[in-house]
């Protein structure tokens, strides 16, 4: 299995080549081609590895080199290849390949073309380090690395002020999550003395319940930041300032799903603490519902899809919180496909409309762009959970599972599903059909995108149609990684512990075979209810925005408070701004005034400017400054000496 090393390093090599020669030698088409080849090789290698794992059911733990000795424990750069990481790696590399191909068309003519592909390759490398590590430190490094790449790519069009602000915001918000995550890693290290997953899992029964809970919750804090769950979700919608392939790759399909992956990766830790699972469930459910409501009233085409990402990630976390880890991971895979598809369609629309984002100003573009429209429809149906598209097979089991485990969660997830269907079809009707609101100047130029953009759309749309039918295959495939009784790398004690933790989902029976599941859904009341809710959402969108029997403006007036709450995204941004940005500014102002300004009598930025501009002020202040300095030092000495002579 040594060839697996190719997977992370071929994008890295592509990054280095483009980084060194991008502007001088490769330039426009070639830089993109190098990047596509780099990630393509990784995709092929990971598919070969995937097949190997699927046929043999083995797992591999390869260590490249010892990176850092921490006492007895040695952190190594490693490659852990089991069904879970194989699935995630395949999702990352395959989706990336198509998005890269799409991007060669999308970024055409951009002056920073090579830089874009260099960043993208770097991102893929970091993402693969994250998925492939066999220890939490490597995971954390990948985690930080994808954050950095995301930061660079959101701000890619840095001449846009909003893009610069958004990247800054995403960076800061992610830091909060990252520090929590790092604290979790360190606590795990202090507790277990190791950070390798396998050793850590096997030592789980030795640790106390509250320690494990604390570790799990801190790690989950990182996931909340990275996967943009409430309350750290505010950065993701604004991150849509980046180029659309970036939104598709990083902020929909892969990076934001890293949190879900991480929770599944360290599943035994979460399973060992039911409190941690409850928190995951709670945050996931709330995010799934609130994000769906926020998506109802947005007008920016990319932000609508971004809110749907938040919401779908919430479903995945809810699944994990319910103990349905396999279903959560399957939804991750299918979501990666259909969400990448939706974003790429949006990108295709944006290219045609010269980066017009407001859906209220679109309309009737369906007839000019048949392939994009068709692909978008597939993605939207999939997202809404209409059979036989993949979203149905991955999302409905979560909702049905919730019904059997916790009906409160079920109510939220079920309502969320209806809202999801509504807002995505609102977007669909407003943008592709409906009346003619498009600016005539733009209309003249609307055309279908070139083949390197439409082919990825077709491939991904096919994936979105077919993937769901492999439900049984994926369930069996993931079993050695996520079902405690089949996890060969756990010892007996841990198995029992994990089994107990997941007992909440034991009585749930979900048909694994896709056909059986379909038949079951179409016959049982619960399945029909879910299905009709989704169809109802689509229908309401249809009568509101296509047939226009109900006037949206009238509805807005009727429910103004609700509308305003949703429009302001439940006031999260405002509250954060008030507390953190403004408060932070005030506090630092205060500290500065207290520390420097009051004592040295209004000399603002030190002696520099005052000294140059006015000799008089300087005369008064300078001697004062030295005296003040020495005086403060003397006070410090006094306090210090008293402290140690009299108090200790």
């Amino acid at each position: 299995m040594e060839y697996l090393w190719v997977i992370p390093f071929s994008p890295l090599i592509a990054f280095i080549i483009i980084g060194l020669f991008g502007y001088k030698l490769l330039r426009e088409p070639l830089a993109g081609i190098v990047a596509v080849i780099g990630v393509g090789i990784a995709a092929i290698a990971s598919i070969i590895g995937f097949i190997d794992v699927a046929t043999t059911g083995n797992y591999y733990d390869l260590k490249l080199y010892t990176w850092l000795p921490l006492g007895d424990y040695k952190v190594s750069v490693s490659l852990f290849w089991d069904p879970l990481s194989a699935l995630m790696t395949c999702v990352v590399t395959c989706v990336s390949t198509f998005i890269f191909i799409f991007a060669t068309g999308y970024m055409k003519g951009d002056p920073s073309y090579p830089r874009f592909f260099a960043y993208l390759s770097l991102f893929v490398f970091m993402m693969l380090m994250l998925t492939l590590g066999d220890n939490l430190i490597q995971l954390f490094f990948g985690w930080e690395g994808v954050g950095l790449a995301s930061y660079l790519l959101i701000g890619f069009w840095h001449y846009k002020k909003s893009a610069a602000d958004a990247s800054f915001e995403s960076f800061i918000v992610n830091r909060v999550g990252d520090w929590l995550f790092l604290l979790g890693v360190l606590l795990a290290f202090v507790t277990f003395g190791t950070l390798d997953y396998l050793d850590l899992f096997n030592k789980l029964p030795e640790a106390g319940y509250w320690t494990v809970t604390a570790i799990a919750l801190l790690l989950f804090g990182g996931a909340v930041g990275k996967s943009a769950q409430i309350p750290l979700h505010i950065w993701l919608p604004n991150a849509m300032e980046g180029p659309t392939p970036v939104s598709a790759l990083i902020h929909a399909a892969t990076m934001v799903a890293a949190g879900v992956y991480m929770v599944a990766r360290v599943m035994p830790v979460f399973a060992a603490s039911d409190l941690a699972l409850d928190v995951v469930l709670f945050v996931g459910t709330i995010s799934a519902f609130l994000a769906a409501t926020m998506g109802l009233v947005q007008n920016d085409i990319k932000r609508i899809i971004a809110y749907s990402t938040l919401s779908q990630l919430g479903y995945m976390f809810a699944a994990e919180g319910l103990g349905l880890f396999g279903e959560g991971m399957f939804h991750l895979a299918s979501h990666a496909v259909f969400k990448a598809l939706l974003f790429l369609c949006a990108g295709s629309v944006l290219i045609a409309l010269h980066h017009l984002l407001d859906v209220q100003k679109m309309g009737q573009i369906g007839k000019y762009m048949p392939i994009t429209t068709g692909a978008f429809l597939v993605g939207a149906l999939s997202l809404a959970g209409i059979p036989p598209f993949s979203g149905f097979f991955s999302k409905d089991p979560i909702i049905e599972g919730a019904y059997e485990i916790n009906w409160v969660v079920w109510v939220f997830l079920w309502l969320g599903a209806g809202l999801t269907a509504f807002y995505i079809f609102r977007l669909f009707f407003l943008a592709f059909f409906d009346g003619d609101r498009l600016d005539p100047h733009i209309r003249k130029h609307v055309h279908e995108s070139p083949p390197q953009m439409t082919i990825p759309l077709i491939v991904l749309a096919t994936g979105a149609v077919l993937l769901g039918f492999f439900k049984e295959f994926f369930a069996n495939f993931l079993r050695p990684s996520l079902d405690p009784m089949s996890m060969t790398f756990l010892n007996e004690k841990t198995k029992i512990l994990v089994e107990e933790g997941l007992s909440r989902s034991h009585h749930v029976h979900i048909h694994e075979n896709a056909w059986e599941f379909l038949v079951h859904s179409l016959t049982s009341p619960l399945g029909l209810l879910t299905l009709f809710t989704a169809l109802g959402g689509i229908f309401v969108a249809y009568i509101m925005y296509q047939v226009k029997i109900i006037n949206p403006a009238w509805l807005t007036q009727m429910f103004k408070p609700i509308y305003l709450t949703l429009w302001n995204k439940w006031f999260f941004d405002l509250i954060y701004y008030a507390i953190f940005v403004y408060g932070y500014y005030k506090v630092s102002r205060f500290l500065w005034k207290a520390g420097d300004k009051i004592i040295i009598d209004g000399i603002v930025h030190g002696s520099g400017k005052t000294a140059i501009f006015s000799g008089n002020v300087m005369k008064l202040s300078q001697t004062g400054r030295i005296s003040a300095y020495v005086l403060q030092m003397a006070i410090g000495m006094l306090v210090f000496l008293s402290l140690f002579i009299f108090l200790t």
């Binding site: 610069a164 909060v176 520090w179 630092s588 030190g606 020495v630």
Partner: protein
């Protein structure tokens, strides 16, 4: 035989071989001094003599390091070591072999490693000094030999086994630095800064002398080892001892610019010519950290409870004040001065955990800090040469467009100071953090984390100004290839060490265990 002859008969001849690096620096300083006095067309000659002297000294330092390492890896000596116990072997080798000048000068791996980094940091500064001074029309040959004298002072400091040697080295360094700060003579600010530091540094010297007097009064000894032995047999909670120790810590804190003894730092850093600021921020700082560690560990291990608490408080104050005030600075040079106060906080925080891990973290962080500090300040020094550049934060706007390489380099230093992987600054903070939680000092560890998040506010401002804005001023930059290369080397070191800190970490861990094993030697 007279009484005097009897007294001096046993004293012997000092071992001059291990002093070769210092002797080279001294000779170079005098050679530069005379070239400066009598030479003609001397500017290149002065620069190259200085560089040659420093490099030669660096080479000989390495030779001595290799000598010591050979001694350890030599099979015969190793066999002997196994018989007699490894630690006593190290002690005997290091102390009998390399204690020179009648017990007033010790050369061991610890001091040698720090000397290497002091010399390397100084070489970077020298490399950029001339073009800066000439562009500011403030070139003086005195720069060079004063820097060399300061380097000599630092080398004496880190090699001191004795309060006297330490004090004298500290003074040599400090006085040379006072003058260097005032060398930018076209600018009144510089002279004023020199004056301020002179006054406040003088206060610091007074505090240290008083502390030494108290410690001498208590123990009757100057040598670290002797103080330790006296301490072992006497009352360790004695007011005289604690008073002396705390005053010594405060004096050292002043030299390391820890809050509340930091007041000279912003003015001195801002007023000094920028290469000198880099010199003060890197070599001078790490020599101070090294000597702090050495004194605390070698002389006062029995009262570690007191000094670890004292350093913890100083560290906490430095982090909070340094970061908070840096947030509102608009001038990047002054901002870096406050950031250096904050970094002093992070570094001495490691002393709050008086364990091998803590000392290793301190050594690691101080060594890597050289690259970041020299890098960031040399960047300013390079750009200050251009008309219109004032170090204001807005001057950085759009730099990525005009000069992508330099913007990348500065970005690497800023990220490293902020402590974001994959830069080495993250590793430094991580090790300090690990040391702190290893000793269960959670409050300081959490404070460290919070403060590094706060510091994102000002470091990222520089990065985002460089990358996300259009150029605000029409300044044209003309940076030569060697300058770009030298800055690039620093940035790449910062990144590579961040990805592969293993070797550095091993060195720090070994140094820290050597330091501990020499206790009582």
């Amino acid at each position: 035989m007279s009484i005097i002859q009897q007294l001096v008969s046993g004293i012997g001849v000092p071992n001059f071989y291990v002093l070769i690096p210092e002797i080279i620096i001294l000779i170079t300083a005098f050679v530069v001094f005379f070239i400066e006095l009598f030479g003609k067309n001397k500017r290149s000659l002065i620069t190259w003599t200085t560089v040659a002297g420093l490099s030669l000294s660096l080479i000989f330092t390495f030779v001595i390091v290799l000598g010591i390492l050979n001694l350890i890896t030599n099979p015969q000596i190793l066999a002997h070591a196994k018989e007699s116990g490894f630690y006593s072997f190290i002690i005997s080798n290091f102390f009998e072999q390399y204690m020179t000048l009648f017990g007033l000068y010790s050369v061991d791996i610890f001091s040698l490693v720090f000397k290497v980094f002091i010399l390397v940091g100084t070489l970077f500064v020298i490399f950029h000094l001339r073009s800066y001074a000439e562009s500011k029309k403030t070139y003086y040959g005195e720069y060079y030999y004063l820097i060399l004298f300061a380097v000599l002072g630092m080398m004496i400091m880190v090699s001191s086994p004795n309060l006297i040697t330490f004090y004298i080295g500290l003074e040599l360094m400090s006085i040379a630095v006072y003058i260097l700060i005032g060398m930018y003579r076209k600018n009144y600010l510089s002279k004023e800064a020199a004056f301020k530091y002179l006054i406040i540094g003088g206060t610091g010297t007074a505090i240290i002398s008083y502390a030494i007097a108290l410690i001498y009064g208590f123990s009757g000894k100057f040598a670290f080892g002797d103080i330790l032995k006296t301490l072992f047999y006497s009352d360790q909670t004695n007011v005289g001892l604690i008073g002396g120790l705390i005053l010594l810590i405060l004096g050292l804190a002043l030299k390391a610019s820890a809050v509340p003894m930091h007041f000279w730092t912003p003015d001195a850093y801002e007023g000094a010519p920028t290469p000198i600021t880099a010199f003060m921020a890197a070599p001078v700082k790490i020599a101070t950290y090294a000597v702090i560690l050495k004194i605390m560990v070698e002389a006062f291990p029995f009262v570690s409870e007191q000094w670890s608490l004292a350093w913890a408080i100083l560290a906490a104050l430095s982090m909070v004040v340094g970061n908070a005030v840096a947030l509102v600075q608009k001038n990047v040079k002054r901002m870096l001065a406050y950031s250096s106060i904050a970094h002093t906080g992070y570094i001495v925080a490691a002393l709050a955990a008086p364990t091998t891990v803590g000392f290793a973290a301190l050594i690691f962080y101080s060594l890597i800090y050289v690259f970041m500090a020299v890098g960031a300040l040399m960047f300013l020094s390079l750009f200050e040469r251009f008309e219109g550049w004032t170090n204001h934060i807005d001057d950085f706007k759009g730099l990525a467009r005009k000069n992508p390489w330099m913007a990348f380099v500065m970005g690497a230093f800023m990220f490293s100071m902020l402590g974001i992987p994959p830069t080495v600054g993250f590793m430094g903070k991580l090790f300090v953090f690990l040391a702190l939680i290893g000793s269960d000092i959670w409050w300081l560890a959490v404070l460290l984390v919070i403060m590094s998040i706060v510091s994102a506010g000002y470091y990222l401002k520089v990065v985002s100004n460089m990358y996300f804005y259009d150029p605000a001023k029409p300044i044209s930059f003309n940076i030569s290839l060697p300058e770009k290369l030298s800055m690039g080397i620093l940035a790449i070191i910062v990144i590579i060490l961040g990805i592969y800190p293993t070797w550095f970490f091993k060195v720090s861990t070994n140094l820290s265990s050597i330091l501990i094993s020499t206790i009582g030697g």
